[in-house]
Structure formats: structure tokens, C-alpha cells
Symmetry: C2
């Protein structure tokens, strides 16, 4: 799916192409722009739609145009992409870029460890396409009491997170008081997305990377990995887990 | 890690940046260039080395320069990258690009199903860093009798495959008569890499994507998924599995 962005009175510009599982396309587009720091919140979104210039066959549904309520700065886009592409060279440069863009998260809920321990089971119960195919990742947003607010599946972990965050953004769900749970490993990109979405607790059933731990520590995110069989590892900002 | 390529008498050009697990860096660089169709074989490789222009501190080991024995065509690089980036828009365009670049594989070994069924266990026994961290993917090249030729681990599945293929390329191992086994899901990019490396059988313990199956069917690759608990699904060119 290609994501295009246009400001008032300006042409749509392609900003990203992602290999996604169809479904939740508007959420994915909105969530991607939010978690990549290209929009600041719901008030920036004027309209999300499939591209009208393309005939209504297969490709029509593979191009989503986001119209902003304010001018779109394509230079900010290129700055952000430079930050991402430099990650393999130097995690430090990436950390500095993200820190400039996002203030660390200082607030957030306190969550019982028992609640976190039950999230994988709750996530798995909601993975309807995974149950049929065995091939999809999932992400879900939970309240601090462990109630599921929204669950999304996608072939890519990052897309699943963007769909969840995009839905929360559009529906006005309380991201800043929630726990984000993912089915796979915890990459630094997921920490970056959590920070941009102001989600204070990020949990997963598998391992984090070392860069994810450093980024979570620097940016105020509680990172919880290996949540399985009643156990978990808390890698950063452990005061939010009791 | 950044991969740079230079021809005889030309400046090194950056061609890719990848988030990798350190180790096997020269294999990764050689394998990446081979599986992405940027070199045709071992005879194109004059030298692989860490970048000499960078002081020997941390970053020195994050930049690898590949010197070719023939001129490097940066335009071919951009054509290939265009093919990759169009994948989300239209799998058909990607298939056509790959088919132009690579002839379908017609030869290859016949492998017993019992041999394939034992590969996940053999792979797992070799995953030394996974055993300590739980966070890495692995890839391995096996003979048709199930003997491991080479095993590599990396945070990314695609990197693990590139390291295995790069080692095989540099060591002169028989790629065209082997089975490539991966620890994760089977993406179309992995099929593409198998085709470029002329590996006829690609197996994995988890699901393939629909595009991976279409590409394997079109390009002569035997694709085997969900190899677990003595069972497996063969998705394409099943005549190679008896």
C-alpha cells in the first residue's frame, strides 16, 4: 500500500510504500503518519481516502491519500527518513534525532505485573486471522486494568502497531494511559512509534534488541519483554510495573 | 552496517544500510550483493574489507566496502531498488522484474520428506546465540541428505540468509544442489534471494505469504512451509520432495 499526503491546495506526495495485510488501511495510513512524527495529532487529519485518480480496480485500494488540515512539509519527511536510514550506521545519531523530535514520557499508568502476564493470552484470543493462517503478527492496546481497547493483525509488526495507534487516534482512545502489546520481538522502531504516540508501556512476548532497550531508557518508555508463562523481563522504567 | 561498492578506479558508492547482528560482515556484504542481483558470482568479487577511510573505532566496523573486478553500474542498482519498492503497489510488477532478471530454476535435487522434517531440529541445535538471547533468526544451507553446510544467525531473517549465501559463494559451496532452511516466515524477498542464488528448495518453520507462493511457483523454487512436528506444507514444485 502506498501512502500519499496532501496539504490544503497542494498536490499529493507519496511518503511511503508498505507491504501490508489489507484491512484497516485508513488506520494504517493515519497511524503511520502519527508514529513517524509526520502529524502531531487528530486535528491535523482532514480526510483519509483511497486515491480517486486511480480506476476502481485492484490498485485503487492500494493507494491511500491523507489530506491534512495544514500545509505539509516534505522537508520534514526527508529529515525523518534520514534519521531512520542512519540507524544501522549509528544508533546514537538515531537516538539524538528522536530525542530532538520527542520529549521523553514522564507520566503514565502504574500496571500490576499480573495484568501484564495475562496480556499475551488476551492478545492470542483476538488473533482471528492468525488462528486460520499462522502467518500474521498482532498488536493491541490495553487499559492499565488489562481491558482490550483495540486489536489489529498484519503481516508486519510495525503495520499492526500503526493500525492500532491509527484507530486509537481517530477514535480518541487514551493512548497516554495505555499498554501496547505486540506478538513479536521489540525493535527500536516500535519504541520510537510508542514514544511518538505517547504510549508509556510497551510489552512483547519475545526479545528486545539492545538499541530498543537504550531508546526506551532514554525516552521514558517502560519496555517489557519475554512476557510468557507467567513471567516477564522489565528492561526500563520499571516503576510503572508493580 | 553500510555496504559500499566500488569498481576498478571508481569511487565507492553506498548501496544499502542494514540493521544487522555483528559477525560475518563480509559474508553479509557479498551475499547481499549476490541475492539482490548486483553481482553475478564469485568472479565479480575482487576484495571485501572494512572501510579504510574511517578511523578504527566503532564505526570502522560498521562500513564494509566491496571492490568489484569489473565496473559497477549504479543505474542497475537503482532499477533493482525500484523493483523492490514497487512491491507493495503491485506484486505483478515485482514478479515481472524478477523474471526478467532471473531465469526460473529447472534443475535441483530430489529430497526425501523425512530429511526436510529433521531440518528444524538441526537448525535449532546450531542456533548458539538464540539459545542465549531468544532474539535471533537463523538460516542454514543443507545438502539433500540433510547435512548442514553452513549456519548463520542474525537479528534479521534476510541478513541470516545473505550471510549463509555469502559464505557459500566465497567458499564455493554447491548452492544449486542445496536446501535453504530459515527459522521464520517465508517472505517473497526470501524467494527472490533463493532464485538469485540458484537455490532450488526453500523451507521454513512458519507460514509463507501469498506473494511468496506465487513467486516460487513462477520461478521454479520448491517452497516448503510449516515444517514442524514431523509435518510440512509443500506450496510449489512439489516434485523435488518425495
Amino acid at each position: 500500500m502506498e501512502i500519499r499526503v496532501e496539504g490544503p491546495g497542494t498536490e499529493a506526495e507519496p511518503v511511503a510504500v508498505t507491504m501490508r495485510t489489507p484491512g484497516g488501511d485508513f488506520e494504517l495510513a493515519a497511524g503511520f503518519l502519527f508514529t513517524e512524527g509526520l502529524i502531531d495529532g487528530r486535528e491535523d487529519l482532514a480526510r483519509v481516502s483511497y486515491c480517486e485518480d486511480i480506476p476502481a480496480e485492484e490498485q485503487h485500494y492500494n493507494v491511500v491519500t491523507v489530506r491534512l488540515s495544514r500545509p505539509f512539509d516534505a522537508r520534514a519527511l526527508r529529515r525523518n527518513f534520514f534519521a531512520s536510514s542512519s540507524c544501522g550506521i549509528c544508533g546514537k545519531a538515531t537516538l539524538e534525532q528522536i530525542e530532538v523530535r520527542c520529549a521523553p514520557i514522564t507520566a503514565g499508568p502504574v500496571v500490576k505485573a499480573e495484568v501484564v502476564a495475562h496480556l499475551p493470552e488476551a492478545l492470542r484470543r483476538s488473533q482471528k486471522v492468525f488462528a486460520r493462517t499462522g502467518g500474521l503478527h498482532a498488536a493491541a492496546l490495553f487499559t492499565k486494568e488489562g481491558q482490550a481497547l483495540t486489536v489489529r493483525e498484519d503481516v508486519g509488526r510495525h503495520n499492526a502497531v500503526d493500525k492500532v495507534v491509527g484507530h486509537a487516534l481517530r477514535a480518541g482512545l487514551p493512548l497516554e494511559d495505555s499498554v501496547l502489546m505486540v506478538s513479536g520481538r521489540l525493535s527500536f522502531e516500535l519504541v520510537q512509534k510508542a514514544v511518538a504516540a505517547r504510549v508509556p508501556v510497551l510489552a512483547g512476548i519475545s526479545a528486545p534488541t539492545s538499541l530498543a532497550v537504550r531508546m526506551a531508557e532514554a525516552l521514558g518508555v517502560t519496555l517489557v519483554g519475554f512476557v510468557r508463562e507467567g513471567s516477564m523481563n522489565v528492561y526500563s522504567h520499571a516503576a510503572r510495573i508493580t
